[in-house]
């Protein structure tokens, strides 16, 4: 299935440069990488010959750390993984623990979890659009997207007490009940989003330079998307219908009406459009739920100290970047024996060399930008 990949061996890395080639480092400190990603790029003039991502600059050994934290504690560390989908990361961990405990989550908590997840998804996509436009040299969309994102952050702050690392999901439900103003504020956000998103579309989607920069750039075929293990909007833009919310519904997504946004082009523009359409779908989901939040408990009764039975548990959720899998091996104690996260960013990054090889260095920014990389998610 791997159409053009070569396995990197030490002798490939030490290949001497040919005449006219030069190696440049993009990162670890570089405006385009949005974090400490280090790409070693071999160029011939402006054409990319090879890209080699060097990882590990922000490795904090979250997986190892989790082994010494209890089942209540380790969830909070995952907010720092993909910090733009903190809610959804926490949700995946909470669900995995609940699976081990065989705990029923109250309906109210389920609905709150979905609303929070979708708000997070919108906030993440908003930030991504701004950052990607910045990669392509347009600064202004960043401020327009941050206006909407700020509203979401304010809503989060009111209910969860934090703007970025919310730590709101706990095994059995959510940590606190919703703030009394929550429903009204989310409703006003929906109105704001619908009226303002057209501004953004005028500025970015229909911009001829933006289209020239993204259409047909960084093409990833369906077969390659599957073989590289790409998930999320990156895979869906190539036509892989792998939305976990549809395929393996969790937390009550099966009861909701929403579309899986697919595109067949697989280029940067398709990835952009898929994310824009996903934001509309998220709004659609929130609209279905916001008037129908059931009354009742927001958290199931659990013991103060959680112990999981001996065994292995796996859950998967759809974060803003793709499939996040949480795998817990329990020996029956209060802390996990081993935890493994399957993060979407890592697989998506692995396709970068394949997508950007042979294109101009300007295209690399369009390709890398639309992969929506969050470096702590890759390094963990």
């Amino acid at each position: 299935m791997y159409s053009e990949t070569t396995i990197v061996t030490p002798d490939v890395l030490q290949q001497p440069l040919q005449e006219g080639q030069l190696v440049i480092n993009v990162g670890p400190q570089h405006p385009a990488t949005h974090g400490v990603l280090h790409l070693v790029i071999t160029l011939e003039g402006e054409t990319i010959i090879k890209i080699e991502p060097h990882l590990g600059y922000i490795h904090r050994s979250i997986e190892k750390m989790s082994e010494s934290l209890t089942y209540r504690q380790f969830i909070y560390v995952t907010s720092r993984m993909d910090y733009l989908s903190a809610h959804i990361n926490n949700l995946a961990c909470a669900m995995c623990v609940e699976k081990g405990m065989q705990l029923e989550v109250p309906d109210r908590a389920q609905v709150i979890r979905i609303i929070m997840s979708e708000l997070t998804r919108i906030a993440s996509h908003e930030l991504w659009i701004g950052a990607m436009a910045m990669d392509l040299g347009a600064f202004t969309p960043f401020f327009y997207t941050f206006r909407e994102r700020e509203t979401i952050n304010d809503i989060m702050e009111q209910t969860c007490g934090a703007r970025l690392t919310m730590n709101y999901m706990v095994p059995g439900g959510v940590m606190y009940d919703l703030h009394p103003e929550f429903v009204a504020r989310v409703k006003s956000f929906v109105v704001q989003f619908k009226s303002k998103v057209s501004e953004l579309e005028d500025l970015v989607t229909d911009n001829i330079i933006f289209r020239n920069r993204t259409v047909g750039v960084g093409v990833l075929s369906k077969a390659d998307a599957i073989s590289y293990g790409c998930t999320g909007p990156v895979a869906r833009a190539s036509g892989v219908d792998g939305d976990i919310r549809k395929r393996f519904p969790y937390s009550g997504y099966e009861k909701l009406q929403f579309e899986q946004c697919l595109d067949s082009a697989g280029d940067s523009f398709a990835r952009y459009i898929v994310r824009i359409r996903e934001m509309y779908q998220s709004i659609h989901i929130i609209e279905q739920l916001i008037d129908a939040i059931p009354e009742g408990e927001f958290q199931a009764k659990t013991k103060a100290v959680i112990k999981l039975p001996k065994g292995e548990f796996y859950t998967r959720v759809e974060t803003a970047r793709g499939e996040l899998g949480v795998y817990i091996v329990s020996e029956g104690g209060t802390t996990p024996y081993r935890i493994k996260y399957r993060s979407p960013g890592f697989s998506n990054l692995s396709a970068l060399n394949h997508m950007a090889k042979g294109s101009k260095i300007g295209d690399l920014m369009a390709t890398m930008g639309t992969l929506d990389l969050v470096i702590p998610d890759i390094d963990r």
Partner: protein
């Protein structure tokens, strides 16, 4: 009415009376002081203007801490840059590295010479003014290439190469659109070109071909001054800062200042050629209207037109993403240059047949 021409003549007479044979020397010194002051003031004003325009487009306030409404922000920035250490990279070619910003700056200064700021205010009304501008402005690419090459930095070199390809290409289009006006006016002298627009600016008199050449001119000069959407030479998400990656302190400030002065100059030239320079808006046979327009000072007309064009170019920068390097060259060689050539032919026909108003 107050006239700068009169003032200049009076000053000249007074100087001749008092300094005798040193008159030219003293006048040169006065002009140099004026030019340098103008430089500094323009740099400060334009940087602040750009930041305010950007802030307005980006729904934020912009600099508002230093001085009233942030007016002294650029002064503070300049002081900071003056006090910073100017680093020279280890294996850089020190001579060329130090020389490059001065070449870029010198070009910007030389270009001020034939610009007519108001009726009678012009440093040097040379008979080949337009040719002089085209010739001098193409030197700045040498400074940029020098900066990129001597920095011993791959980003800088890539940026300089991009800049070289870009400026050399777009120079042609800018030249052809300027030629259109030369053909219509029948002179290369700036004052003649302005005088030819006494009863209407070329953009109104020259039919659609002049409008086309105006659009091409604006696109080409945006590219020549390395402004977004053509800022590939300093594409920050690709090449960190392009050709001036290694520059710091005052050397960087010179590049920065030269960029803004260049914007002012190309806009001033655009205003002179297409919008009549300091010439007020005149409409033939509307005597009353023309008299009213005459009462607005010529310097206000010139600055108004120039700053309108500057704002247009700033608007581009904060709205468009950046082009890719091959798209940039495609735009020039496949679209602008053929259109410009054909357009010149049309303008020549119009000029020969006398079809313009």
């Amino acid at each position: 009415m107050f006239s700068f021409q009169q003032l200049a003549q009076q000053t000249h007479a007074w100087l001749q009376q008092h300094t005798g044979s040193f008159t030219v020397l003293v006048e040169c010194a006065i002009v140099a002081v004026f030019a340098i002051t103008l430089f500094a003031v323009l740099g400060l004003v334009l940087v602040l203007l750009e930041r305010k325009v950007a802030a307005h487009i980006q729904i934020r306030v912009g600099p508002n801490r230093v001085g009233p409404a942030g007016l002294l922000q650029t002064v503070a920035d300049t002081l900071k840059l003056l006090m910073k250490e100017g680093l020279v990279p280890n294996l850089a070619d020190k001579f060329l590295f130090n020389l490059a910003p001065f070449i870029v700056m010198m070009v910007a200064m030389l270009l001020l010479a034939p610009v007519a700021f108001a009726r009678g205010i012009q440093i040097w009304d040379i008979n080949i003014g337009v040719l002089y501008i085209s010739a001098i402005s193409s030197i700045s690419v040498i400074g940029i290439l020098m900066a990129g090459w001597s920095s011993n930095n791959k980003y800088a070199m890539l940026g300089a190469m991009r800049s070289g390809a870009q400026i050399v290409s777009y120079e042609l289009s800018a030249g052809f659109s300027v030629l259109c006006i030369v053909v219509l006016s029948g002179s290369l002298r700036i004052s003649d070109i302005i005088a030819a627009q006494e009863n209407g600016w070329w953009i109104f008199k020259g039919h659609i071909p002049v409008l086309i050449s105006f659009v091409i001119f604006i696109i080409a000069v945006t590219a020549e001054t390395n402004r977004a959407p053509f800022d590939l030479a300093e594409a920050e998400s690709e090449l960190t800062a392009g050709f001036h990656t290694e520059y710091s302190g005052m050397r960087f400030a010179l590049f920065f200042l030269a960029e803004y002065i260049n914007i002012f100059i190309v806009c001033a030239i655009g205003a002179t050629l297409f919008l009549g320079g300091w010439m007020p808006l005149h409409i033939a046979h509307w005597e009353g209207f023309n008299h009213v327009m005459d009462y607005i000072p010529s310097s206000v007309w010139f600055m108004g037109k120039t700053f309108a064009l500057i704002l247009l170019i700033m608007w581009f920068r904060w709205t468009f993403p950046r082009l890719r390097v091959d798209q940039l060259l495609t735009l020039e060689w496949k679209y602008l240059l053929p259109i410009g050539l054909f357009n010149l032919l049309l303008v020549a026909i119009i000029a020969i047949m006398g079809w313009h108003f």
